[in-house]
């Protein structure tokens, strides 16, 4: 009895906070998406009304399309991270300096990153200057203010910030590959490419799975880089579901509808991941 009390005394602060700020929101969020709720009026049950509304809402549909498109950043981030991890997975003079350099974007806040890049992308910015100086373009490129380029430009920032993070995870993975396995394969006459694709990559599989999962999750919920650099513009060209949900919830105080919109993203994440787990389970690791 006394042990029981002690255990719960230790757990109480955590459980109380989790109850209020983690478990209750999960339940209430699931309930609220079936209601119409703003500050002004009491909650009103609308059933699937919010979802019906969402699928007739052109702004939502375009933001959904953009969120799905955003997943395009995942394969390049993963492939580049693996390549960088392989590059730095060797004993060389100064290697830890280089590794550290690559994490700096990771530990810096997305706001600082987004502000820096917004300036680099400016029509008078460094990027345009370099391109003009090299005579690659003859007039400034409107990276963030043209409808066609805004999305790829924002994606570039996500990619740039993500590489160091995934590189670190892949590096951990590479270092857990027993050197004997690779050596044995090499002695048996395997080429470097064969060792890599037949020995290293299969052993790296759980890491690829984890990283791909994380980056799909991040891509579908991308917020800060868009909010800071374009605010969803120009002309909604970079409006994604998270940005749209934010505007609906905290701009219009349209809480029930925003929760329903959030659920669509949650379902999308679930579908994407289910699909990915299936593909990888079949041994379809070819892309990596």
């Amino acid at each position: 009895m006394r042990r029981y009390l002690i255990a719960y005394t230790f757990l109480t602060p955590a459980l109380a906070l989790l109850m209020v700020f983690t478990f209750y929101p999960i339940v209430m969020g699931l309930v609220m998406m079936f209601y119409d709720y703003t500050f002004l009026e009491p909650m009103r049950f609308v059933g699937l009304g919010n979802f019906e509304r969402a699928f007739h809402d052109p702004d939502f549909l375009i933001s959904l399309l953009h969120s799905i498109q955003y997943v395009i950043v995942v394969p390049p981030i993963q492939i580049l991270s693996i390549l960088v991890a392989i590059l730095v997975n060797r004993r060389l003079f100064g290697i830890s300096f280089f590794r550290t350099t690559y994490y700096v974007p990771v530990v810096t806040s997305m706001v600082a990153v987004a502000i820096t890049w917004k300036w680099l992308y400016d029509s008078h910015g460094l990027l345009n200057y370099i391109l003009q100086a090299l005579h690659l373009v003859d007039k400034p490129v409107y990276w963030l203010t043209s409808k066609e380029l805004a999305m790829p430009s924002v994606m570039m920032v996500t990619l740039w910030k993500g590489i160091g993070w995934y590189m670190l995870i892949y590096l951990a993975g590479l270092q857990s590959v027993p050197a004997e396995l690779e050596e044995a394969a090499a002695i048996d006459g395997a080429s470097r490419w064969q060792v890599f694709s037949k020995v290293t990559v299969p052993l790296l599989r759980p890491y690829v799975l984890f990283c791909t999962f994380m980056s799909i999750l991040g891509a579908l919920q991308v917020f800060e880089e868009i909010y800071v650099m374009t605010g969803g513009g120009p002309m909604k060209a970079t409006l994604t579901v998270s940005v749209y949900q934010f505007y609906k919830a905290f701009g219009d105080y349209d809480f029930g509808y925003a929760a329903a919109v959030g659920m669509v993203v949650a379902l999308l994440v679930a579908i994407f991941n289910l699909g990915m787990f299936r593909t990888l389970a079949k041994g379809g690791l070819r892309y990596y």
Partner: protein, 267 residues
């Protein structure tokens, strides 16, 4: 020759990763007029700290720094204490309801939470905490991630040490504070560095719960500042440097915990 290629690739990547920040640093050190110089100056000359002084004075940056320090300090210390306390019985004691607590914690990793930000906002509003700094850290003081990380650490230390202390008559709180907690210091450090970065860099949540710009932490203040000073990027650059330096200092001094944390979380 091959080694030369490797170093070339390493250097090119370093320039890619650090280039934007070096440019930011260079811009922040430039004097009036140089920012639109064409061709742009890569190395600022003369070097001047006037933008740092300027942005600090013009915006009273000290208030944002104090807000950020407040949020980060309470957030990190609170998270560490709460997680270290909660993880202890989960690793060491058998009690009715343990499995339920465990499954509930695990479930948060998979359950969708479509209205998380919204419900927490409404809850804090009912508690009349909107527009206070405690609204910023309160919802993230207890996280299943922190509890699980520290539980793993407790499991890795031998229980005999704790039993010996109990036989000597120490109460459970003493055993935890004097014996167990010091033994899991590396994991606590890992959690501390992750939380430090999380709280210091947090943007969206403070933006939602704080209405008065004077209460903003520095990351949110920066966004606000770049709107006001878009025509004077040297000031924005200096302000951004101010926000980055503390995280970089903590990161460089605690790198090994950061790396072991990333690696450890995957095991």
């Amino acid at each position: 020759m091959k080694l030369f290629m490797v170093y070339f690739a390493l250097l090119a990547l370093a320039l890619f990763a650090m280039g934007p920040f070096l440019w930011l640093l260079s811009t922040s050190l430039k004097t009036v007029g140089n920012v639109y110089a064409f061709p742009p100056q890569i190395i600022p000359w003369p070097v001047s700290f006037e933008n740092y002084v300027g942005v600090w004075k013009a915006l009273h940056l000290e208030k944002y720094v104090i807000n950020t320090l407040h949020i980060t300090a309470v957030g990190v210390v609170g998270t560490l204490l709460i997680s270290a306390l909660a993880a202890y019985p989960l690793a060491r004691m058998h009690f009715p309801g343990r499995e339920v607590v465990f499954v509930a914690l695990l479930s948060t990793f998979v359950l969708p939470n479509p209205g998380g930000l919204i419900i927490n906002f409404l809850t804090l509003q009912k508690m009349q905490l909107i527009n206070t700094l405690s609204a910023v850290y309160l919802p993230s003081l207890a996280t299943p991630f922190g509890i699980f990380l520290l539980r793993q650490a407790y499991l890795a230390i031998p229980a005999e040490l704790e039993d010996a202390a109990r036989i000597d008559g120490a109460g459970e709180l003493t055993v935890w504070w004097r014996i167990s907690l010091p033994l899991i210091k590396p994991s606590v450090a890992t959690l501390a560095i992750f939380n430090f970065m999380g709280y210091w860099n947090s943007f969206l949540w403070p933006l939602i719960v704080l209405q008065d710009p004077d209460k903003y932490p520095i990351a949110v203040a920066l966004q606000y500042l770049q709107g006001m000073f878009w025509d004077n990027f040297r000031l924005v650059a200096a302000g951004t440097m101010f926000s980055m330096v503390p995280v970089l200092v903590v990161f460089f001094s605690m790198q090994r915990y950061f790396i072991s944390g990333v690696v450890g979380a995957l095991k």
